[in-house]
Amino acid sequence: MWSIVRKDLAIERRTGEMLSSLLLLALLVVLLFAFSLEPERLRGAEFVAGILWTTLLLAGTLALNRSFVLEREAGAWTALALCPLDRGSIYLGKTIANLIFLLVAAVLLLPLLALFLGTTGIAPSWLLPASIVLGTAGFAAVGTLFSAMASRTRAREVLLPLLSFPILAPLLIAAARTTAAGLVGEPLEHVSAWLVLLGAFDLVFLTAGWLTFDYVLEE
């Protein structure tokens, strides 16, 4: 599993394609929001959290697609499928690597959002990193599974969002709500149910991906 994570990080170190495209698209989306919506309304924590997660979802989908194009290129995916290891661990390795890219993007995106939207009244609590880690983990879990499925089709760029966005809707709502709470230091009791939902979502989809990846890899 960790070999797959190291391999994906090594490819990214050599090419820089995934993070650079993810960050550039994220920056564009943030700028579009900043220019197209009323500035005064954008400054609230709810808007910052909503824009952060919408941006991550759009840019992250592109990065997840790219992650499996790399695997399909030159048939490396077949060599991976033939290795004597549990296919669930291939899924976990790919998910962890994608999670790292999404986390890096989220960490870089937050200050950008604050800068471009002129957000005030921010008093972050531990809920902020917790919501980002749990939210990106769920996104990586679903995105990795569906991008592996979609990568076998010619319409993969369209298929991935079509498959994953409806499933990611509850995650997006819960992540945006807990991130907003984390940005202004709201007490845990206000968002504990959302946090539990995030954790349960992660657990369910990580388990589902681990169990079903054998069939996803099948020709």
Binding site: I11, L70, A74, A76, T78, L80, L82
Partner: protein, 262 residues
Amino acid sequence: MARPACDGETPIRARALRKAYGLLPVLRGIDLDVERGSFVALLGANGAGKSTLLRLLAGVTRASGGSLEILGADCHPGRPEPAVLARIGFVAHEPLVYRDLTVRQNLAFFADLYGVGRDRAERAARVQAAIDSVRLERNAERAARNLSRGTLQRLALARASLHEPEILLLDEPFAGLDAPGRDRFAASLENLHRAGTTLAMVSHDLGEVAALATRAIVLRDGRLVADFSPVPPQGELRARYRALVDDDPEGSQVTGDVVDRP
């Protein structure tokens, strides 16, 4: 528990092996025993089922029916267990490597997944030995993306033989190679065969088959229609092979089970 006889002298055993993609039958009942240490060539027109048979043996895809034993393990209806996969190598049309990693990084990655060597130092030594064995020393630090077709194919062979598999499966490994590239690749295969590896190779090149293989089987429309063991000289092989496939306008029409076993 006693191991089935298949694992001893017959590492590959297929009985009535069938494969269909949806409603399209590709293999229509293959019976095949491959002896340990043999070099079997799979011949046939396009669409005859050669590559599908090889991919079934490699565990890339699952059979639709019949039975398949690889190294003593039953591989149908499931896929080969990791312990069996660890003893098989596969070279396809494509190099099956990561184009953005260097030759050494690719081999180190797959060495890691196959658990090659007891520690990092031994693993690095095995990777270096694999690089040397296919004469890739000068390209070791180059990204696979920048390698020529012939060099990529030697990298593919190094990847597939890195873990010293007992069975090496090759799908048209000579396709796209220039003459020196073919010679170097053929020499590497001969070395593996001499070392006792069982090889099965899909090929359209009867010259390479006559020079390298100890046995050649011919597939036609998903059926095994001829079995040459030993492989006759190139001219005779060509004549006998053409007699089997040239009357087939589609390259794969069924005219009956014409099994030729000299």
